[in-house]
Amino acid sequence: MTLLLKAESITKRYGAVVALSDGGLELEQGEIHALLGANGCGKSTLCKIIAGTVAKNSGTLSILGRAVEIGGPREAEALGVALFYQELSLVPQLSVADNIFLGREQRSGAGFLDARALRRDTEQLIARFAEVAGAGFSADALVSDLSPDQRQIVEILKVLARKPRIIIFDEATAALDRNQVALFFAILRELKAEGVSSIFITHRMDEVFEITDRITVMRNGATVARFVTAETDRQAVVHAMVGDVTALAERPAARPRSDKPARLVLESVGNKRVQQVSLSLRPGEIVGLGGLQGQGQSSLLQGLFGAAPFTSGTIRLDGEQVRISRPSHAIGKGIAYVSGDRGRDAAFHGRSIFENIAAASFSKERPAMVWPGRLRERFTKAAATLSTKYAGLSAPIGSLSGGNQQKIFIARWLATQPSVLLLDDPTKGIDLGAKADFFALARRLADEGAAILFYSSEDAELLSLCDRILVFNSGAVAGELEGEALTAYNLTNAAYGRAA
């Protein structure tokens, strides 16, 4: 095997924050290499340094044994490096085709844009994803009109279109569903066969063992372990990542169905994307929303929260019919909503962690005046529940890694002590340790009487946390699993059951 890329002793500081203290990575020709580690350990930073978008402070990079200085994304591209950005690098106002070929447009002889070639090449590229990409995915569609998974697909295609020899996929599967992931893996294998090397970052351990050849693990800004995938196991890898094992809680013993009166009852609610959904949720219950991605699960949660209000049906809370046409109504009634799309739905960029936590509590409690000193302790506690890694409440939210930010946004809602918790794929980008904490916390909240609706794009999460699961298809409930029936097999079956 040839050593294609080598990163050694890479360091990177952001002011006082040390993002990387000793980043290292060795990538062989034609392999798929997993880069793993807890939130904030420096994976994205290392990748961006390799792709030229972040400047390192020290350390060396070499390609095929020759030391290289990568001064920007263009230089990286010239060296054959392409990065799938965790936060994506797409321009919302441009079409799918324009985005895929941005900066490397096909030109006619006179240097004009060759629109026909652009369309042809794009259609060739997107054809592979036609089956799994869902409605509205075409060469001319504007990226701003696409769903998160479709955007990830565009980012994948954009990377592929650059025909690189080194591709870094930074959480490329985070928003993809099973089918989409399968197709993506097929492509990874083809690339491998062509001799292209891939670095693959994910927080899903199954994916690591399914597709990668070798594994590099980082912890606290340093590379701490390397494995050959076939010669190791989950336990060992997780151990390297977190120091001591805090594995995902195993599926708990089925709990007796609570006989308390329902906290939340939906009767045939619907809007543009949800049809006639009815369900009932008791205090202490965690109900999962399953099925393929984009079947209306998020829309149901957003409808219930008043962000995309229902246009039909009724909502009852503790027996009383309520009207929820905007989030403030929901918050006032003790409902909380945690979104997985933190950059868009949650982060107050540039503001302090304090303010980021405070927002929901203020809406709930409606104080006229604010005395930050008196709230500090309470918010510190809220942030601590998920062992968030942060410098202090007055540090800006942007100084945290993606995963740690997400913990803050969960803390934001915990601070309101909600009685109904709506979780919309809340663990996106959260590391294993935090995920375990989070699940334990969700359980505890349920045990204390909260009612929880939980949507996750990962079946394993649903299976390990939920008392029962409603399986969605095309905006409607296609089935319900409970008790003994809660198995991965049944869940997959139900999801595909009535799908076209």
């Binding site: 030229g52 989030p327 403030s328 006032g332 868009r344 540039g350 503001r351 927002a359 005046m369 930050p372």
Partner: protein
Amino acid sequence: MNRLRSTLTDPLVLATLSILVLLAAGEALSPGFARGDQIVRLLVVSAILGLVAAGQSLVVIGGREGIDLSVGASISLGAVLAGNVMAGQDGSIFLAVLVAGGATFLIGLINGLGVTMLRIPPLVMTLGMTGVVQGALIVISRGIPSGNAAPALMAFVNRPLVFGLPGILILWALVGVLMWVLLRRTRLGYAIYAIGSNERAAELTGLPVRAIRTLLYGLSGLFAGLTGVIVIGYTGNSFVSVGDQYVLPSVIAVVIGGISLAGGQGNYFGAMLGAIALTLLTSVLTTLQLEFWGRQLIFGAVLLMLMLLYGRAGRLRA
């Protein structure tokens, strides 16, 4: 070292430093420039700019490219209305404030509705509103006397009230405190930063984003109208374009005070210092014996230098 660097690049510190440098320059160029009574007079002029900048700050912090270019027209409207209502009578000052503030608050609300409900970009909405208000002013000021400031109002602006300071300075300090309380000690203040920083996230935490933003434009109009009342107290009478000269300076004061035009950042103290720095600069330039074009060149260059110090966007390559 890092702390030192971040202190030195703090907009508030920079604005304060620029003020000291300008004062020193003024004193060096013409001894007596930095005399107490002269500083008080400069502060009076700064206060007028500072009051408009209060509204401008709110609108800019509130985000979504927030900017209010109609403040000039609203100042003129406030001045003309106040002048007409007061007609030189002390007894009518309160009513004048009410009428001027009420009318401009309404205009601001209309701006806000255009920005929030019709989603017109603020720059365009408030620019368009400027034309409408100016037009309306020409219509209403015709035939009606432009009116005079009441003597008590003029004394409030121009004459010492307490500790040798004119009432307007006390008022300005009060506005500074109120703005701080609003932004840092009320839920509304936190909400303003939140909507300025991420509107969708603000909605999802239950904030009435449109109502708040509309209110911000209303407040900007209100501040402009009140500034109009002060302006007529400063100049004695008013004319239809009296507010024009404050429009871009109010934006600049806000920017050199460290309030990012991207929204969700900064505070009113910065804008106050910005207003003082800008007024000082203008006045230092007046005392230079230079041709007009020379003053313009220096003015532009100093603005650019202030931008160089800290009004810069971050590097794309971190």
